[in-house]
């Protein structure tokens, strides 16, 4: 019977995933369209410089990149190329395609982001639970003070500060650099990137855990004679995590935007800088490539969040 149930769940699950992923395509289409016309509506172009180029050269470049054609034609050509998996050439990084740029930098940013997310989640939940169990005591207040600092201090202050202490005074960790992903080089950037979402998760977990600890069924669990850690793990943690799961998508967004600052300061060869730089340079194809990447990540995150909701609460049905 349990095997039949498992197969049922699997079928239900794949049907649900298929439905959700096909719903993501129109969403992406709208995002790309809006981004395309917005970035083209911005004044200036990719070849504007302090020293104006001779108009003949600009005209030649425009012709080469197809910028002399009407916007609607450019749009259709871009979408057709995109449908074939071609993100186009970068306007600013000569001789590089957008795909090449992203493929080169993505592993760095992804490593940094995934590690930061894991750190934020695990430490955030642990800190929040710890504080809730010591409600209104000094350890609780100390943890929450730390969380407020974590939310308030921006990473461009935190990372140089940490580099100063752990890199320059104590000589424990390198201040910057990548060196093909050595752990020592990752520690400070990951921590700086993780701190704001970690602090928010800690505060969320604490307040929800406090609420859950007062529910009748947690009282029942204590009355059953369960040791405290089992009451927390089996009965209290799941419901307390529901709002934390809702925070996951904003947390990913915060890490994506944070990676811009952290990668620049720590000198990491990631893709964090491409979105802002691309927008400033009017590097149309690079901006659009980054928008597509980030939107896909966030849409997938939304899906993960809904699956987690169903796992955390059996009353939630996937439909």
């Amino acid at each position: 019977m349990s095997i039949a149930r498992a197969i049922d769940t699997l079928i239900l699950m794949s049907r649900y995933l298929f439905k959700r992923l096909s719903a993501a395509i129109p969403t992406l289409f709208i995002i790309i369209t809006a981004a395309f016309f917005l970035i083209h509506a911005a004044p200036g172009g990719p070849f504007d410089q302090e020293q104006r180029l001779p108009s003949q050269i600009v005209a030649n470049l425009d012709t080469a990149f197809g910028l002399n054609q009407p916007l609607s034609v450019q749009y259709v050509r871009y979408m057709v190329a995109l449908a074939h998996g071609d993100f186009g050439p970068s306007f600013k990084y000569k001789d590089y395609s957008v795909t090449e740029l992203i493929v080169q930098g993505l592993p760095v940013t992804a490593t940094l982001g995934v590690l930061a997310m894991l750190v934020a989640l695990s430490f955030g939940v642990m800190m929040g639970t710890f504080a809730a169990l010591r409600h209104n005591t000094a350890p609780d207040q100390a943890t929450m003070l730390l969380a407020v600092i974590g939310i308030a201090v921006p990473s461009f202050v935190l990372l140089p500060f940490l580099g100063l202490i752990f890199g320059i005074y104590l000589h424990w960790l390198p201040v910057a650099g990548w060196e093909s992903g050595s752990i020592r080089h990752l520690i400070l950037p990951v921590f700086a990137l993780a701190l704001p979402p970690m602090s928010a998760i800690a505060r969320l977990t604490r307040s929800n855990m406090l609420e859950v600890l007062r529910t009748p069924y947690v009282r029942t669990a204590f009355a059953k004679g369960l040791p405290r850690y089992l009451v927390i793990i089996r009965h209290a943690l799941k419901p307390a995590l529901v709002p934390v799961v809702g925070f996951l998508a904003p947390a990913v967004a915060s890490i994506l935007t944070g990676s811009l600052v952290v990668e620049s300061i720590a000198g990491l060869p990631g893709i964090g800088r491409y979105l802002v730089q691309g927008a400033l340079n009017r590097d149309y194809s690079l901006v659009l490539g980054m928008v597509i990447l980030y939107s896909t990540v966030l849409i997938l995150m939304g899906l993960v969040v809904d699956l987690l909701y169903a796992w955390l609460d059996p009353r939630v049905r996937l439909n």
Partner: protein
């Protein structure tokens, strides 16, 4: 033959901040006995019940077989909980909404009889489920799929799983409709006789208390104002509050002929 009481409560106080929920309260409970506890809402009945099982902080002495529940170590307390059981007022809220009924019922066995084989545990659960009048196919369902009465049956099954020697019932039927109330009360009484469990039964339903209790305690503003055998109390209440409480019981068909007693 003289028994020493199973449970001896003396000078039990419960304080929530500046508010005193239970003023010094003392009483005994004997093996297999049913003690009714009545009083209006806010009189401290539930606080008293929870304090006895150390689910809320309290002062005083609660002697369980000559061991003070309020002073023993947390580990010792957890072991004692095998024999000390409680049923709560809100049947649905007291069951973890994220666990299947089978898992909820298996939990006490996992803690106190970890050596049990899977099959033996399953057999015990099914037997208890059948005993409280539920079907085996309900094991994989979640609490919200049941009615209030069924939830309270699950609560009873959970509480009686390890055949406790003391069962505290904290208004177990007050949130159920009348036809279901009788079924649950009868189920409790049957199980109590079967397992020889002592019971502290809290209710504001005088008829139910009268039906099942050997002795009755009356609580008012955190204090015990009267303690008497069931028959004595209902025949000749001594304390004015008890009289008022009994007079407040609605009588079907009564119009002007009701005795009026006010505090």
């Amino acid at each position: 033959m003289i028994h020493s009481p199973l449970l001896q409560v003396s000078d039990l106080c419960v304080q929530f901040g500046a508010f005193t929920a239970v003023n010094p309260v003392s009483f005994d409970l004997n093996e297999g006995e049913t003690l009714g506890l009545v009083g209006e809402s806010g009189s401290g009945k539930s606080s008293l019940a929870r304090a006895i099982l150390r689910l809320v902080p309290a002062t005083g002495v609660v002697l369980w077989k000559s061991e003070n529940i309020l002073a023993c170590s947390h580990q010792r307390l957890r072991r004692l909980r095998r024999d000390l059981s409680i049923i709560f007022q809100d049947p649905l809220a007291s069951l973890n909404p994220r666990m299947q009924v089978g898992d909820l019922l298996a939990e006490p066995l996992h803690i106190f009889e970890p050596a049990l084989s899977h099959n033996e545990r399953q057999r015990r659960i099914l037997k208890m489920l059948d005993r409280v009048g539920l079907h085996a196919n309900m094991l994989t369902q979640y609490p919200h799929e049941f009615s209030g009465g069924q939830c309270q049956r699950i609560g009873v099954a959970r509480a009686m799983m390890l055949q406790p020697q003391l069962l505290v019932c904290d208004e177990p039927v007050s949130s159920l409709d009348v036809s279901i109330q009788g079924q649950i009360v009868n189920l409790l009484v049957d199980l109590q006789i079967e397992f020889n469990t002592a019971m502290l039964f809290i209710s504001h339903n005088m008829a139910v208390v009268r039906h099942i209790s050997d002795r009755v305690l009356v609580m008012y503003r955190g204090q015990l104002v009267e303690s008497a055998s069931c028959d004595t109390l209902f025949a000749a209440p001594v304390h004015p509050y008890t009289r008022a409480l009994l007079a407040a019981v609605p009588v079907i068909g009564a119009t002007a002929a009701r005795p009026s007693a006010m505090l």
